[in-house]
């Protein structure tokens, strides 16, 4: 029955070029990073991943503090952003009057378009003093028994960076989650109501259950953004190569060290180590994405449903 004319075949082949070009791009980036970081890979080998020293003068390089910083800030940012983002999306899709929903949605899209350097400057001048004078003393006073909220209070650090990241990624979560929730067929919700479900039950059991894959997708998108975010984080994380359990402590991320040191890296080994940081960032993104995908499969009974 397959009746293919030439234009159809041509169209299909042309379309196939686009996904293949993405594949080539990713593979190209990987090989370029790998190739350029060979001197560092040869010299440090696997120690690069667990060495916590970064000394450009002595040319002793390790990525552990940066990996730690990237994971901690991204994770804490998600902890803050997911409840706010999903909550806002539910309200906008299910409760808010259409006019309000529309107005807020426009604001959300506006937030997503603000360049991160603006968030960084706002962070330096508004958020950091607020963290130092209000948030961190409060947390230290009431939750100071936890190791996360101890130590000197500078204002800058993991917590401030996580806040900025949360603000940057919340619009993505709201925007995508809202679309997902709106896409839940009305029939399902009406069936729930017909069975005597309250609004809360309908949202929690039907809407969120139906849309969980999409919402998790939104979270993964946000996570990817958080891992790679550079400028705003660099401006307020304190840029100190240490691993501390306290969120008050200054830290460093993979993207930040690249932004800070790439321009002035003058020796071959230094440059190569920085490119290996880029490679590590690439690997961290891939691993986190795979883990997130496994998480989705575990809540959706296997890979099939994701594809559907």
């Amino acid at each position: 029955m397959s009746r293919q004319d030439t234009s159809d075949i041509v169209f299909r082949r042309i379309l196939a070029v686009f996904p293949i070009s993405i594949l080539i791009l990713v593979a190209g980036i990987f090989f370029q990073l790998f190739w350029s970081s060979l001197p560092s890979l040869k010299k440090f080998g696997f120690t690069f991943f667990y060495n916590s020293t970064w000394d450009p003068v002595a040319e002793n390089f390790g990525a552990l503090p940066f990996i730690y910083g990237t994971l901690v800030t991204s994770f804490v940012a998600l902890l803050i952003a997911v409840p706010i983002g999903v909550g806002a999306a539910i309200y906008l899709a299910e409760y808010a009057p259409p006019k309000v929903s529309k107005a807020i949605s426009i604001l959300v899209d506006l937030l997503a378009a603000i360049p991160s350097v603006i968030y960084g400057l706002w962070g330096i001048f508004i958020l950091v003093p607020f963290m130092r004078n209000c948030v961190q003393p409060f947390l230290g006073k009431y939750l100071g028994f936890l190791p996360f909220f101890q130590g000197p209070n500078y204002g800058v650090g993991f917590l401030a960076a996580s806040f900025i990241l949360a603000i940057i990624i919340v619009p993505f979560i709201i925007s995508v989650s809202r679309e997902v929730i709106l896409a839940v067929p009305q029939v399902y919700k009406e069936s729930a109501y017909a069975l005597g479900a309250t609004r809360w039950e309908a949202i929690f059991d039907i809407v969120l259950s139906y849309g969980r894959v999409g919402i998790l997708g939104a979270v993964i998108l946000a996570l990817g953004r958080a891992i790679g975010e550079t400028m705003a984080v660099t401006m307020i994380i304190g840029n100190n190569v240490i691993i501390s359990p306290s969120l008050f402590s200054p830290g460093y991320t993979l993207a930040s060290v690249l932004a800070n040191e790439f321009a002035e890296a003058d020796t071959t080994m230094y440059l190569s180590a920085l490119i290996e940081i880029g490679l590590v960032l690439f690997l961290v993104s891939i691993i986190v994405n795979i883990l997130a995908r496994i998480l989705i499969w575990s809540v959706t009974k296997g890979p099939g449903e994701v594809i559907k």
Partner: protein
């Protein structure tokens, strides 16, 4: 299609004609010299319309890389090239000092005015993390009558690789053997303590908002932003305020090596401010293109003489006249 092609070819020819009249000089490197070099280009082009300049402030490391790869006509760097880097270059490279600048040590202590007296031992102690309180006996001994708080010192440094950090760590290496052994000097180092701020604005942002901080910024930046900065004890024991004059003094009465690769931190001159540095332009001794070679050398001759008056407005310190004479003689050796 043919029409478009013809148009493109015509435009390309026109632009190449436009460039044919003027000599285009490409440079890249230090961000510290960027305001000075822009001002020079602007003024110099007025009297020499035949020369066009293009300078990319990509950082000193980038400047060294580009001149080594011969992709630019000159580089600019805040720290001299190492022996290793010199041998990698395809030809003999000359370092020509162009501007001098000071790095101010600024602090935020409510109730304490400008002019806190700091010694080399205090500076090294603070940045090594050994002096942690503002009322440390070493600091109070130098500042009788100043009401120093018992709060902890929050150390701030640059997080991005920068010539300012190079000058500052060069100074600390020069006054403290422990710093030299543990940390060393460089555009980025493994800081024992402190918060990293990105750029001068990042450091001054932290300084302005957090009481108890100490950090270092370019003098011009400290002045523009009304930061309170310290007077530092120099090698002769005098306490010197950073200024254009005390910075110029740093290169007076010091032994200048013939290749100009020297450091002016911790100058022996009793009038000199101790944390001073300079930016060099890097050119090849043999420049292949005679037109470009003449244009570059003429420009440098002008910049180190008449051009120095222009940069004083931008808070750079003028080169001392002895040094300028030496530079003139060096430029005579450039072949093109």
């Amino acid at each position: 299609m043919k029409k478009i092609l013809a148009l493109v070819v015509a435009m390309a020819m026109m632009t190449s004609y436009a460039f044919a009249d003027a000599t285009l000089i490409n440079g890249a490197g230090s961000t510290f010299i960027y305001p000075a070099i822009t001002k020079w280009f602007d003024e110099y082009s007025k009297s020499n319309p035949g020369v066009m300049f293009n300078y990319q402030a990509i950082g000193s490391g980038g400047g060294i890389k580009q001149i080594t790869a011969m992709t630019v006509d000159f580089g600019a760097t805040d720290g001299p090239m190492t022996m290793d880097q010199m041998t990698q270059a395809p030809g003999r490279i000359y370092h020509i000092p162009m501007v001098m600048g000071a790095v101010a040590v600024a602090y935020n202590l409510p109730g304490v005015d400008k002019g806190l007296k700091l010694t080399p031992d205090i500076m090294a102690g603070i940045y090594l993390g050994k002096i942690t309180q503002w009322n440390d006996p070493l600091i109070t001994a130098q500042n009788p009558g100043v009401n120093l708080p018992g709060s902890s010192i929050i150390v701030v440094h640059r997080s991005d690789g920068s010539g300012t950090s190079f000058i500052f760590t060069d100074y600390l290496s020069s006054v403290s053997s422990e710093w030299k052994g543990r940390v060393g000097k460089g555009t980025s180092v493994n800081w024992p303590v402190g918060l990293g701020g990105k750029g001068n604005e990042g450091v001054s942002g932290l300084l302005k908002q957090s009481p108890g901080t100490i950090g270092y910024v370019e003098l011009a930046y400290a002045k523009e932003n009304n930061l309170t900065y310290a007077v530092l004890q120099n090698k002769s024991g005098n306490f010197i305020e950073p200024s254009i004059d005390s910075t110029s003094q740093a290169a007076v009465g010091v032994n200048v090596p013939a290749d100009f690769r020297f450091s002016i931190v911790n100058s022996p001159n009793p009038q000199a401010y101790p944390i001073a540095g300079m930016t060099w332009i890097l050119i090849y001794k043999h420049i292949d293109d005679p037109v470009k070679g003449k244009a570059i050398v003429d420009f440098i001759r002008w910049a180190v003489t008449d051009g120095q008056k222009l940069t004083a407005d931008l808070d750079y310190a003028p080169l001392p006249s002895d040094l300028v004479d030496m530079i003139q003689k060096k430029l005579d050796l450039v072949k093109y």
